[in-house]
Symmetry: C2
Subunit: 325 residues, 2 copies
């Protein structure tokens, strides 16, 4: 049995807790939190909740820790710190900072003889892998990534910070015509605006100026100003009833030509009712791979690009060859 | 530069020859054939054509040999024989015999300190990998594989062996309603007949009994009797004009639930204008991986399940982390 710890108990941490119940070779042994452990109720029965400050005391009792923190400030500190004591997996998803995060984690994990898998999940993660396989098979071509339909938590949070907004939910939507052109092999040049639209549901505070809120959303730099954005004001009841889930998904599509001129399209798509629940399943699989890699002496920092697919699966090589190949 | 040999110069061998031109780190050094080398004209300029019987003489001049033979009789003999002298890649695709082929190749390659990758391509190959990733991420669910629309060469050959048939082309077609039910997450139980239909174009010899030919096709055990099959008789000119390509493709779809009841669908799809040209691109990428694995001392027999995605790509780890993850 792979003895797993979870560090951080938000949506993703709860997702990992439930993912472990679907993996027969894993058991949850501890949940680490920065909150008061006595005040944190978790779903798993009989699993200790421990202060993150005391994590080191568990270093001989866990095979791997899955770190479920945010990429902005949590993971850059937590992953190198925990990699000193454990094999670790995180879902660091600030694409531009992956090289720096990799270097920091590599040093910590490498020095300690541990195995760290960073940037696991679906993007980065399964989508990265899809880009790699498609590019390897079809070196001359173009990769496109479409996100959604799905809830972007970062964009939802950005809208919630606007004065007069009580609650908000932002859906990212791929533009169907753009997806169809890519699927048809046109290899179009697409602007940011041509690839995705944004749809925002807002619960306004009483007396708030809705026109101002809508304008602030639509002109917000980086988040919304380059997109066609629709803003709908709804009630708190409607928000709760219709928008309490965290669905997401998207597609990686590569279209290109082989040397004699034949055209080919490779597509990998996800449709997810719960982004954190699915992401957690990928993290659990990567935790298994991290433990196996560590047992073979493969220490340091890795992404899913460095993981043999077979290491993700709770099956023997024989069974994989007989049933999955 | 990776020095590549090709063994076998049919559709797939020609595909590998053209795939190498799209991979800047590879050069074609020799083509091995069982035919008379003097009589075989190849497209590549200045590349020697060598009798397969003399392949061993090239053992210090090649980094890897891509074996482009048929799975029924060629590869079971050729791959273990060539693995004694070279790192090798093949596309062995008789799913039921993969464990036996693996054992034979493992012994030959392992004893010689070589690295062999078997069953590369898209199914087995990329589709196998898609099944593995989807199953690892979503352990509770069901995998479905749909093939086509595309030409099945095995079924086309089977029809050509019927008396009175001058030429034939068989298209495998997924049943759209079945694909939609799977995509919608219904996890339906589907019979062979409910998943695919077969469409056959036949050029009959003069005076042949078309009703008998059609009946022999539709009742042919294993190949057609479990399917709804449509037979169209056409002229030799129509065959040449409309059916000279070898398009193929298909989808691997996994649909399942995480532990709190959320449903998710993972799909990997290919749409290929030329099956052998695309398959060859996958084999070339696996040849790169075989050479890298061998240089690290990873000898023996492997499938794509055992290859780190990064090893397939002509990019450094730094570039992969900066641009692909």
């Amino acid at each position: 049995m792979i003895r797993v710890g979870i560090a951080g108990y938000g949506n993703l941490g709860r997702g990992v807790e439930s993912a472990i119940t679907q993996n027969d070779d894993m058991e949850l042994k501890a949940v680490f939190t920065r909150r008061d452990p006595a005040a944190l109720k978790i779903a798993a029965q009989g699993v200790p909740v421990v202060s993150l400050a005391d994590a080191e005391q568990w270093k001989d009792r866990l095979d791997v820790v899955i770190i479920c923190g945010g990429s902005a400030t949590d993971l850059p500190a937590m992953t190198p710190a925990l990699a000193k004591h454990f094999n670790v997996v995180d879902s660091f998803d600030t694409h531009a900072n992956i090289p720096l995060h990799y270097a920091n984690v590599k040093k910590a994990a490498g020095d300690a003889g541990h195995t760290a898998v960073i940037s696991a999940g679906w993007d980065p993660g399964l989508f990265s892998i899809a880009r790699i396989y498609a590019t390897a098979a079809l070196p001359v071509g173009e990769n496109y990534t479409f996100w959604g339909p799905g809830v972007s938590q970062g964009h939802s949070d950005a809208v919630r910070r606007i004065e007069g907004v009580a609650d908000a939910r932002q859906y990212t939507l791929p533009v169907p015509e753009a997806v169809e052109r890519v699927r048809a092999g046109e290899n179009p040049a697409l602007s940011v605006r041509e690839k995705h639209t944004r749809l925002v549901y807002v619960v306004a505070k009483e007396g708030a100026d809705r026109a101002r809120i809508e304008n602030e959303i639509k002109t917000m730099p980086n988040y919304f100003d380059e997109y066609d954005t629709t803003v709908n004001f709804i009630t708190a009841e409607e928000m709760k009833r219709d928008h309490s889930g965290l669905p997401h998904g998207g597609s990686v599509i590569r279209s290109g030509s082989t040397a004699l001129g034949d055209r080919h399209t490779v597509e990998f798509s996800l449709s997810l009712q719960s982004n954190p629940q699915f992401t957690a399943g990928v993290l659990a699989a990567c935790a298994r791979a991290a433990v196996r890699m560590n047992s073979r002496g493969e220490t340091g920092c890795f992404t899913m690009a460095d993981i043999r697919p077979a290491d993700l699966l709770n099956m023997t090589g024989e069974d994989i060859r007989a049933h999955m190949i």
